[in-house]
Symmetry: C2
Subunit: 354 residues, 2 copies
Amino acid sequence: MKKHIVMLPGDGIGPEVMDSAKMVLNTIAEEFSHSFTFESQDIGGIAIDRQGTPLPAETSAACKKADAVLLGAVGGPKWDSNPSHLRPERGLLGIRKELGLFANLRPIKGFEKLLHASPLKEEVVKGSDLLIVRELTGGLYFGTPSERRDNGQSAVDTLFYSRAEIERIVDKAFQCAKQRRGQLTSVDKANVLESSKLWREVVEEKRQQYPDVAVEHVLVDAAAMKLITNPSQFDVIVTENMFGDILSDEASVLTGSLGMLPSASLREDGFGLYEPVHGSAPDIAGKGTANPVAMILSAAMMLRHSFGLNEEANVIEETVESILNGGFHTADIKAAGGQKVGTKEMTQKIIDSI
Amino acid sequence: MKKHIVMLPGDGIGPEVMDSAKMVLNTIAEEFSHSFTFESQDIGGIAIDRQGTPLPAETSAACKKADAVLLGAVGGPKWDSNPSHLRPERGLLGIRKELGLFANLRPIKGFEKLLHASPLKEEVVKGSDLLIVRELTGGLYFGTPSERRDNGQSAVDTLFYSRAEIERIVDKAFQCAKQRRGQLTSVDKANVLESSKLWREVVEEKRQQYPDVAVEHVLVDAAAMKLITNPSQFDVIVTENMFGDILSDEASVLTGSLGMLPSASLREDGFGLYEPVHGSAPDIAGKGTANPVAMILSAAMMLRHSFGLNEEANVIEETVESILNGGFHTADIKAAGGQKVGTKEMTQKIIDSI
Ligand SMILES: CC(C)[C@H](C(=O)O)[C@@H](O)C(=O)O
Ligand SMILES: CC(C)[C@H](C(=O)O)[C@@H](O)C(=O)O
């Protein structure tokens, strides 16, 4: 199989972990006789520094022509006081919108061997294996008007959803649930918001098409509680953009393995952008200590979701698990025992085992 | 001191825990020679059943004439499929707005003796003692338009804040921080939302007036993580209505003592409505097993914030703590050891010790 991949390393530890993913993908290409070609483009802070904008036209164009996109991370204190249009995050929001990546998939699973690094008690977090499906191109982060009013003395943002936008993400979530344990939790604030009422209506309609999926509705405030008190009760959670932003980050720290969590942002046709959940971590950038696992697992998600290469994806995932089970971990896992390794060493161990 | 208190017992376990609070307040009145008079009014589901509306005019009028209001809980499955204007929650949103209760204060503290009931590891949650200050009458839950569009095929909600609305809640939070450990965390999504940018500006301006309070800004998604990984880093958190809704519920389960958490919803002049954080718990209503502590501690907050009766409030709080330290707990605390008691017994123990 021949595939062209655009890499957007971005800021902070982005370039380091991107190197790791590229090395792993090259190994997979060799082992399975594929041909992956790579092209690197700027996004975020580095794009602002080099090209004066967080999302250069050349970057967008390259992504649109690619078979898939890998993204490292964007942002850092250097650009924090920039005006809105010159902030690294704009690059990320922009590329999601331009590519139509409406479905953000965030699987969260505890690695048995790392559960001791969780802030939760082991008996609470044990067995947790959930997937958050977040709507990514609608809602409050994109609605208009979003502006100052009354000479800057007030401000407004708009939460807007069309039925079609809700239908496609809910559909995606049902499909995921069907392939997993057949349980879907839809999160909204239907006791207060109009958009949430529409959301709930759509879920109720769609469930007719998926009679083998069990559906429950949970209010966002209750969901924020349940994720902590009983995370293993969830299979697939589907929710709108902002609730998904908050809940998926909340969920990402439950298993103690934030540095291991990948994500996929998908379009209807399977095209996607893949990025680790952890951010740019400017404090450890360039030190060679960053955890490359989330980026490597994001590459595995790319193989599965955009290229249909399930076996290759499985090989990466199983290899990572076996290395972690072998006791190797990077500095982000604060726990006694095991052997601490750097970014390069961790990557090499994974490559050697593939 | 003579004070007139309106009680809104509401639904589920509301009436039971309200009885407990009333008994404790009567004991305090006797011991300290105050005269508290009580009047009960309908709100929520019971108001719908009896008077056809979740917030009867008589209830509003009574609250406006009172010195303070105690609320039990609203809601239950019975009214879940009602149309918007006939939902119990409307009563709660309505009374907050009508009384101008813009500042919701939610103190969250771990009771040493109950920390073992926390889903978090004891070393993570230990020492946590934070106050969430949530804006309660603005933002997405009240903004207009909030409606269906395109023949019901789309929906919109509006997040609106004026500078004045932000200033008064931020001021309140700074005052709280000053009286506590002098640390304020303002939570927003200023990398995306216009309203959050205005919010951050106001916080930056206000901090000039409170040079002895240390201020940090945290994005809402990061805040959702940090509450779990390191809750004891926070002193006072201030945030807008919806973020506050989600984060305060998330925070409420950290210490394992949800049934112990009170809240105050205040106006500028100190008038307030006081309610437990736990909901109406319809599954255990009428069984005599509900935990009355959150309601009793809400009454203590009333004595302190609306009546200025600090000593009396302290007596209640210290008594509750000593009873809990004595090993007595209601059925909501799932843990070995101690002695399980019912609502009435717990209340009596507290009264006997006052
Ligand atoms: C950087 C920011 C705009 C972004 C978001 O909120 O969507 C990030 O928090 C994420 O979750 O991917
Ligand atoms: C019942 C609901 C409208 C309310 C809110 O979200 O404000 C509740 O969740 C709360 O937090 O007091």
